[in-house]
Amino acid sequence: MSTSSSTLAPTTNSVELEHPRSGTWDGGNEPFKASYGKLMMWFFLLSDAFTFAAFLTTYGMIRHRNPVYVGDTKDFEFSTAYWPIPEKVFNAFPGFHGIDLPLAFVALMTMILIFSSVTMVLAVEAGHRMDKNDVQKWLLWTILFGATFLGSQAWEWSHFIGGHEEGTLMSDGTVFHGANLAVNQYGPVLFADLFFFITGFHGTHVFSGVCLLLWAFIATTNGTFEKRGHYEMVEKIGLYWHFVDLVWVFVFTFFYLV
């Protein structure tokens, strides 16, 4: 009887007296060995992954629902009757008007985002070493690349909305240039809608990331993290930033390549 009531009996173990509430059932055990903040960032990113996966799955489903263009790629013309070939839609580059450069600009955007991911890891690595100057330097580079990506996306959008010079002869007999949510010159209505929603939702994430990075840069400069004794906030924003890069890798494959 007396031996089985150990949970009710007052604690006499010296370890438990010195470190109260450190037992497994007192929440003292960290099975994932990660801080609360980082763990919650992971779970948020998991939920965000579901949102993006829903977008890309919708793209896959609607694309398979629509007819495919059959024939030689060279003879391809825009039509609302079939799904467009991405490299025929995204073939413009700023400053090279009228020259066919398929996927060149999106390749540049991809490189910018991958590079911003690298500067982000370098900032996190500098944070581990408590190197304030290096954290500042790499955060600033990441902000620069992030902002450049956003600018590129703005150009890509304005070009997509403005359209190619030739335009497309629509079923009502008029020539339409560019795209909006109801009509577009490239293909079925949903092609442009999915472009706006998927790249737009991703761009919003990049924008939020740049805002968080700006805040982290200011906090680093003010010495907030130095005083706190760790740069975990930079690490958490880093997780978010890499996730945004990760999403772009999938958008790039499923929207531009496939």
Binding site: F32, L46, V249
Partner: protein, 114 residues
């Protein structure tokens, strides 16, 4: 006096040398895979086989970003599975809805052709 103490503090605290080799290695892997994707885009005709290559390469890239940059490879097994299992279920969603889309597409074409 206070100024003197601060200077001393800065001198004592030495910052370790950066260890960035693995970061640049991961970067070159990602650049390499992206380059291969571009070569394929302009040398191969569009087909299911080409799309399969793209998907495999994309998963490789995703692995390097999540494992190295997001450090998941170095977390506990419990955390790795917590993230991976729900994500893996998305493959089911993708396959199911793409099949559904193809079926709906075929049905529509037959309806208008007959």
């Amino acid at each position: 006096m206070a100024h003197h103490v601060e200077v001393q503090h800065n001198e004592i605290r030495d910052i370790p040398k950066p260890n960035t080799g693995w970061i640049w290695k991961t970067f070159w892997v990602l650049v390499g895979i992206t380059a291969v994707e571009f070569v394929i885009a302009f040398t191969m005709e569009s087909s299911t086989f080409r799309n399969s290559i793209y998907i495999v390469l994309t998963i490789f890239k995703a692995f390097f970003i999540v494992a190295e940059f997001m450090h998941l490879k170095h977390e506990t097994k419990g955390l790795i599975w917590t993230i991976m299992i729900p994500t893996a279920l998305l493959i089911w969603l993708l396959v199911a809805l793409i099949t559904e889309g193809s079926y709906a597409g075929e049905l529509l074409q037959h309806t208008f052709n007959s």
